[in-house]
Symmetry: D2
Subunit: 145 residues, 4 copies
């Protein structure tokens, strides 16, 4: 019966490190990983019908309220990255993703991280204390609850 | 009587090259100069009461329709830049700026460039073929016409 | 005998507009097109064996010395872009690309532009007045000269 | 005798929200706060003689290995930010900063965060397990140890 606690959805994409992602030390600038996380979320949303525009069309925006990032290895220009984005359901009116970035050639774990998003009404930016209906339905469809 | 042809308004700011502006060759990435131009325009607008928000409050947005940039020297992390932004009036419903970026220590000319903006209604993005009244008044106040 | 004047190489990629590419007017910020041009050049280089790292391994860096960009239509979040990058050979020691960006759904032309790059020695950043041998060979292999 | 535990150094700067910092919701994109933290660190380094170039000239680079960020309020175009950057000494060979970003007009706390940096040799990127001598001396000069 604790089955749902273990459920999660995952999306995986692969992309090249861009020239402009790299700083003067020859490594990806730490701030660009925030963009990689967003690339992961957008790909997740596209695969699982949970894009920013889907939220917006339902009347919500979902800003980030917390981000964490641990850097374990560096990436360089010419490297290729795997971005794994995992959604883990929670009871409260929040959206939690975790991220694992891997060097796609060596398989090394490069960065791990997490983000938390909340629901605001798109007009007025009022915080929603309950999960919106469409989001509860989305979770049901995915077999997460 | 050709007096107005020579008139122009200028703004000058000085700022440091940021660590994240520099690429793996140790020089400012060429794309960041577009930001420096915008930094110049924003400082110009602040000084001469012609900020994006002033346009917006009058009912207009002023997107860039052309940008040109010539790179003559490089800038490195630790360098300091002078950004000169010059408004040169024209008859048509356009806003033309030219830019000169200098290394503030050596005085060398680093980059020159120009941008052209047009007036769109903020609702509907309709192109304005005539200069808006407030903009004509702004030019008069500046002694440009 | 004017055959070579008509020769050119082209690369075409397609990608989504990122959420972070869009400004507060809901349209792609003009500065991001410089990145789209670089995305085009990198894809071109991958397809035709002319990547930044190929230049670097031959002893050269190829910075941008001129960029031009004309904005004809806007792109919004949710749009998909086609980036066409065309290399047109020239006699002098320069690399010229032109770009056409299209809205992949409507087919509308959104932006056109061009860049010019020169060859510098990677050590010392000395301007090369002659085309490096490997680059002449690359052009021959492509049937451009 | 626990005096040193309470010591810390602080730097405060104030700057405008740039047009390009703001996303299509009209608020500063969450990823830009990573840049604001770096702006704070660079200003701190300038004030207290601890810039990236100072580390580099001593033979070290100091990449970020952890970043955390909590978003409490939003910032909009036209807003002005106060960035408070605080260095808190620790025994281990790490550099810890905390950040408080405030809306300079309302005084509201907008974002809090922290970063951790480690010392790598600039050649070879070897992790340093001990604080470099020059850094210990810097802490002494600041009265932190």
């Amino acid at each position: 019966m604790l089955k749902h606690l273990k459920k999660s959805l995952i999306n995986t994409i692969e992309q090249d490190v861009r020239f402009s992602d790299v700083d003067s030390l020859g490594i990806v600038w730490h701030g660009h990983y925030v963009q990689y996380f967003e690339d992961g979320r957008e790909a997740f949303g596209k695969q699982h019908n949970l894009r920013y525009l889907d939220f917006y069309n339902q009347g919500y925006v979902v800003p980030i309220v917390n981000i964490q990032c641990d850097y374990k290895q560096v990436l360089r220009y010419g490297d290729r990255i795997i971005i794994e984005t995992t959604y883990t359901p929670c009871e409260s009116a929040k959206i939690n993703f975790t991220y694992r970035l891997l060097n796609s050639v060596t398989g090394e774990l490069v960065v791990t991280g997490s983000t938390t998003q909340v629901f605001l009404s798109k007009d007025g930016f009022t915080l929603q204390l309950m999960n919106p209906d469409f989001f509860r339905e989305w979770k049901e469809k995915q077999g997460l609850i």
